[in-house]
Subunit: 286 residues, 4 copies
């Protein structure tokens, strides 16, 4: 019963790239981390050690820097599409290209100076083959918290239940969002800002009966507000803030003093889509 | 065009659990991180905020501790199967249970004392529904390095190539391995130790013409040596060790002085299986 | 030649504390990490295992939560002074108390909701004994970058020099600042905001001939602008942004495309003070 | 009231260095992280931006690699002394050199292959000036745990006490040790292994009445066993393992099931020395 190579992929991860664009009276600054991953006709490399069709990952890295030189990098989705197209066009042995870009935000301070933003990142994932391309964008580590407007009651009680019902708790989470665009005819920057705004507004305004309900509502609103999106995935860790028990000291604690924790944490994940998306889950032609 | 809940999952991550087992003249110590994630009939919670069928993640956590009390924890696969079975049996609204356990190794120093091992972890993933169960085990962060027996030549050269061919380089990687067992009738501890040994031996002894070739050879040997395994996935980051250029100082550097780097890194991934596995990709009945 | 206990200190680190303050139409939210460390008459504990004078670190933790309940937490320096005073007053066996507080910034989004700021932290260190108190405040991880206005020329060249002189480079750093107040009669919030502003302005506007020069200038300006400060320490890692060499591809790179790196990094540290501070390095009476 | 430069230091941190030494039938492999920091006549650089006396940190880095080429690296203390001597000899403007080296352990697997050890590191700190040198060595992140032989009773009880006394608990810590050698005539490798063994044995065998008592006993034993050491500092975080309360489920938990935690943690620090060390705290002549 012989062994077979079922699947393979290779590439370069964590290519760090900064670009300065000089305007007359100010500079722009972009700070990206890029990943390039390829699939294709690489069986000879795996089985025989024949590298004839292998593009070295070092060359992928060089290519990213070289192509960034003449690309504005204004929208990371555009740069990722450009990279995917380059690798497909110049490498007939490659069947699939996967480009991942994370943009690290910096806030302008003065004309040439910047202050690093939070750990939040703007993300894109491009998966392209010769039949089409899938464009996904997202947000990494958008950390939010609300001090009220969140409860959790009416759940199952069994012999291992100790959690108390509450109609008022802290809701803190680190939002990971990833959505798929219907096609490439999208104003990516505008859309990204809009989805981010929708996520923040829903989090702030939704009267939450559970993390699940808020997660679904967030996805629903994003799809309703942005027709360019056909599917969105949200992952919300529940960063529990435990009410400190001050009663041993003869003190009350009416939802004032909390212990923030990271471990363990609840993890709630939802995917929302439009039913029509079911009919065409495969990538749209590019 | 209404929005639909396409998929959802929720649970508790990073449940930290330690267990001391007292024998006459020595103690055993187990150190685990457990995750529990459920799918099922949770639409009412997402759409209406009705938590009637929601088992709180806090209760999942309590259940893990309570069930660990009366379970030997000798094989993490057994404990994960036990947890999966418990949640399926006691929660008719649940269709799928996913249990993840990471075991953190400690080396015995004396009868009651232990020294923490490396960051390497023993892993298992159990996915169970009422039709069957999939049992996967693996290794996280097994960091290895060889000082010779690795080269990389004969690859594509294009306008962005600067990498020099070499027949002798350092090969350093942080192995992530994950394999699927054919069924549950497996001596898990023995198998895990055996696959780990195979991975280490292949890494040490294989005359590597590329990371791809070594990755494939590792997967092939694991499948050949262990008939209980039907598929294995290996992910090998290439932790490049750059030869320091000492020539500006009038010095030679015959593969002696290197700059270890973590960023960027190559990433090579392979999946190997037995062709028969293709015919039955679905989980075996539990 | 007997062995002696030369020094000792103990306490609790990383006490995580969040406080919600409810106003009519909005809430305030504070997120702190507190450390409490004591010195005193603890020789019996170390030499004989006699814990009669040991205040458990668990009790220190409880005390922090209990005292936070009735303290506004508006200025972390005030809360740290309050904690230090409490431990000194209630523990005659204690000679020195060291309180460290890090405040994690959140930006208000709406009345009850907040977005996590950057990794930057507001810091304070209080060291108190029965003779007086030293009050230090600071900033952790203020990450900044300028795209021009920084050069480095005229340095020593020796046989190991390969660095090229430059009159225009990226200057990126993660500022750690720590300053000592002359006494406790200080508007801490206003001062902290002011010093932070001075640091940012100096970084942005100073035409840097070296990191050393900018570090000194920053300290000098802080002391000139804030008479309440008698000494300031600044630590500036130089997060090198390497100019990517595109010449092998026949391309020029006029300071546009850079490789951001974290390892290795330069590290420049300066301490500036007023000469009068030399005369009284000991803590001021509290 | 003018501002003065009170203190300054600069250098290069996190210089990553690997060296392969080729023997007939096997290779040796060393993996180090080096830091170089200088003090001296650098006022012109800080005040005027005059870099005439500044040795660039980039040159420090190059020097480390170049000097490593012809040095065996068998004992990191020797290499650090060699580096310190080089920088002092070749830089008359430098008054003080501080070299820090961390060695990352790898275990030999076969003749040319190695497996990464734990996060534990062997450390050295050399501080040298033209009058003498101070040689310190140490251990970073030696993580240990014992399941019994540790208690904590008889401590202060006050209104904020909730901790229960116990005569049997888990004692888990991540040992940081740093000791100063009397002079440079020391078999550094033998001594380091010996101190490490003493630390492990004391931890395992000492019947602990408090972390303080065990910390002191560890220091005392190290000084008694190794006359070459004149002072030792130990820092022991108390990684609390909380007994899980299973009583709500009608179950007992006789010290079997624990919740390992990292935050908050106790932190116990002791310095032990020989009284004679008091008389000569200044560095011995080199």
């Amino acid at each position: 019963m012989p062994v077979t190579l079922a699947d393979n992929e290779y590439g370069k991860s964590r290519i760090r790239l900064a670009k300065v664009t000089r305007h007359g009276d100010h500079h722009d600054f972009k700070d990206l981390t890029v990943g390039v991953h390829l699939r294709g006709d690489f069986e000879a490399a795996h089985l025989e050690g024949n590298n004839r069709l292998i593009l070295p990952t070092d060359t992928m890295k060089n290519t990213v820097y070289a192509l960034a030189k003449d690309h504005p990098l204004e929208q990371i989705e555009d740069f990722a599409l450009h990279l995917a197209s380059y690798f497909l066009t110049n490498n007939p042995q490659v069947t699939d290209v996967r480009i991942e870009i994370a943009e690290h935000p910096w806030s302008r301070y003065q004309r040439y100076s910047f202050v690093k933003g939070s750990g939040e990142r703007r993300l894109t994932w491009i998966t392209a083959n010769r039949a089409g391309v899938s464009i996904e964008s997202g947000i990494g580590d958008l950390t939010v918290l609300k001090t009220t407007g969140s409860g959790f009651v009416g759940y199952i009680k069994d012999r291992f239940t100790t959690l108390k019902e509450t109609t008022d708790r802290i809701f803190a989470t680190v939002i990971q969002a990833r959505w798929r665009y219907r096609d490439r005819d999208v104003p990516f920057n505008t859309c990204w800002q809009g989805v981010r705004q929708t996520i923040l507004d829903t989090f702030a305004e939704h009267d939450s009966l559970s993390v699940q309900q808020t997660a679904y509502e967030t996805g629903r609103q994003a799809l309703e507000n942005f027709e360019q999106i056909e599917q969105i995935h949200l992952s919300l860790p529940n960063r529990h803030h435990l009410l400190m028990d001050l009663s041993p000291f003869g003190m009350e604690n009416p939802n004032e003093i909390f212990i923030p924790t990271e471990e363990p944490h609840g993890l709630i994940e939802v995917t929302c889509h439009r039913p029509s998306a079911c009919a065409s889950p495969s990538p749209e032609p590019g």
